[in-house]
């Protein structure tokens, strides 16, 4: 096990914990950003350079920035929600996630010896996209349609403001 692997794992775990358990939402957004960057580092470590670049570009650069943006617009610190959670709900929540973690860990533990590490012959951008544009071209086209639909949907939803009719 390499030093870098352990370092990345520890960092990812720390930032993920901060994401979930931080009281301030802006801090959890920044922690999510760092988690995503660390996952990008893991991709690099696993040999898929292109995916790590995409991860930083899309997830850390665009998705996380949207979160930070919205959190700064909606300042939750000003309107705190003080309703108490019922104890039983909390226990069930923790139990659910612990059980699922246990099951997953058990599955991984039972199969970890059979997992091999294959050196990818060619994980360059060209090899990846050769496959994307031949075998996967229909999902790819559908994904572009999905993105277009998302853009249109966001514009429609954001413009749907009856109190202040915006200029067209």
């Amino acid at each position: 096990m390499m030093f870098v692997d352990v370092l990345l794992t520890v960092l990812t775990v720390a930032f993920a914990l901060l994401t979930v358990f931080s009281k301030k939402t802006v801090i959890s957004a920044f922690a999510l950003l760092m988690t995503l960057v660390c996952i990008g580092g893991i991709y690099y470590q696993l040999g898929s350079v292109f995916l790590s670049a995409i991860q930083v570009l899309v997830n850390a650069g665009a998705v996380a920035i949207l979160f930070v943006f919205v959190m700064m617009l909606i300042d939750l610190e000003k309107y705190p929600n003080n309703t108490e959670r019922s104890k039983i709900k909390l226990i069930i929540t923790v139990l659910t996630s612990l059980v699922s973690l246990g099951v997953l860990a058990l599955i991984i533990n039972n199969n970890i010896d059979t997992i091999t590490v294959v050196n990818l012959s060619d994980s360059s951008m060209k090899a990846l996209f050769d496959r994307l544009f031949t075998q996967y071209y229909i999902p790819f086209e559908l994904a572009t349609v999905l993105l277009l639909a998302a853009v249109v949907a966001v514009v429609v939803i954001a413009n749907n403001n009856k109190q202040h009719p915006g200029k067209e």
């Binding site: 802006v26 920044f30 950003l33 350079v49 292109f50 670049a53 995409i54 930083v56 570009l57 850390a60 650069g61 665009a62 920035i65 930070v68 943006f69 700064m72 617009l73 360059s124 951008m125």
Partner: protein, 349 residues
């Protein structure tokens, strides 16, 4: 292993030290250039021709009292300038100033981090550039700062799109992401005198990219993030002394990085300027020196261009900026991309 670490450290020191060290020179050029364009003298009192002015500025920034207002969020307030500077410096790791050269029987890449996704990596990292500004604006806990930060962030995200269309068009044209092969494609001449620079093939993409650079680095005419007349000073109102200076440095480094990428994509990167071949001869050492020199000359011209535009064009209004980005540049970029793809396709088949 030790050798590798040493090599990387030396390269990193040079590649970070050079731009940071050149900032004082840019400052002189900027302030004296402003004076020149506005028919006044500019700062000319410190040293010969005012050349020592940035030194005096640095001392002023270092020794001024550092005021931290009581209403800021202390942790984020402190790390915001550092985020801005670190993110601005990171893309420098993939920008080469010369072709790979032989040293002690070993091929050395002049960039710190050699990857065949060079251009892509640089843009992935500089996409994080808005975080420094956003954190600063939010941590200052001031409405003007917040407005400035939100403006800067929206502006950077919007102009990244047209910038990306320009880059993708160039990547299609050169058929590679590797900076060295992009530069190799641009070495040589058409008809014996016109350099094979990307600018002459893709002027539309070049213009898109150039506008994008100005928007990304928050320089006039797109410095809405600072807009003195509306926002006092934008995201760095609450910053004083060295923290303010670090924001300043980050802005200049960001500008240098983006001009470096512009030169790599459109003006041949480190390929020799016309006429320089005569000076090189057969010497490999001379070739490397001349390549570095070409790159530096091109970057200097870009910096002068930045100063020139800054003191020529007035600031845009915010809605004009957004309209220009989304309704003019983005469709133009996509149109240009489609044409490029078609041309490249028919050229290859």
């Amino acid at each position: 292993m030790l050798e590798l670490i040493l090599e990387t450290l030396i390269k990193a020191a040079i590649i970070v030290g050079l731009p940071l060290g050149s900032i004082p020179i840019i400052l002189v050029v900027e302030r004296r250039g402003a004076g020149f364009m506005q028919k006044r003298l500019g700062p000319n009192r410190v040293g010969p021709f005012g050349l020592m002015q940035p030194l005096a500025d640095v001392f002023k920034f270092l020794f001024k009292e550092e005021v931290e207002p009581s209403h800021v969020r202390p942790f984020f307030y402190t790390i915001a300038p550092l985020i801005a500077l670190v993110v601005a410096v990171m893309p420098l790791a993939v920008i080469p100033v010369a072709a790979p050269f032989d040293f002690n029987g070993k091929t050395i890449f002049p960039e710190v981090f050699h990857t065949d996704l060079g251009i892509f990596f640089a843009f992935a990292v500089s996409a994080l550039g808005s975080y420094g500004i956003l954190v600063a604006g939010w941590a200052s806990n001031n409405k003007f700062s917040m407005l400035g930060a939100l403006r800067a962030c929206a502006q950077m995200v919007s102009y990244e799109l047209s910038l990306t269309t320009a880059i993708v068009a160039m990547i299609f044209l050169y058929g590679s992401n590797d900076i060295h092969s992009i530069v190799a494609e641009q070495t040589g001449y058409w008809f014996g005198f016109l350099p094979k620079w990307g600018f002459f093939v893709q002027p539309v993409a070049a213009v898109l990219f150039l506008v994008g650079i100005f928007a990304e680095s928050n320089r006039l005419p797109f410095d809405l993030a600072e807009g003195e007349s509306e926002l006092v000073a934008g995201y760095h109102i609450e910053y004083s002394s060295i923290k303010f200076a670090i924001f300043f440095m980050a802005e200049y480094v960001h500008m240098l990085v983006l001009s470096g990428l512009f030169i790599i994509l459109f003006f041949g990167g480190y390929s020799l300027l016309p006429g320089m071949e005569l000076l090189v001869g057969d010497s490999a050492l001379m070739l490397t020196i001349m390549q570095v020199l070409s790159f530096i000359i091109k970057i200097s011209l870009m910096v002068w261009f930045f100063v020139w535009v800054r003191w020529t064009l007035p600031r845009f209004r915010y809605d004009q900026l957004m309209m220009l980005g989304w309704e003019r540049l983005l469709p133009l970029g996509i149109f240009n991309l489609i044409i490029t793809v078609l041309v490249v396709h028919f050229r290859n088949h």
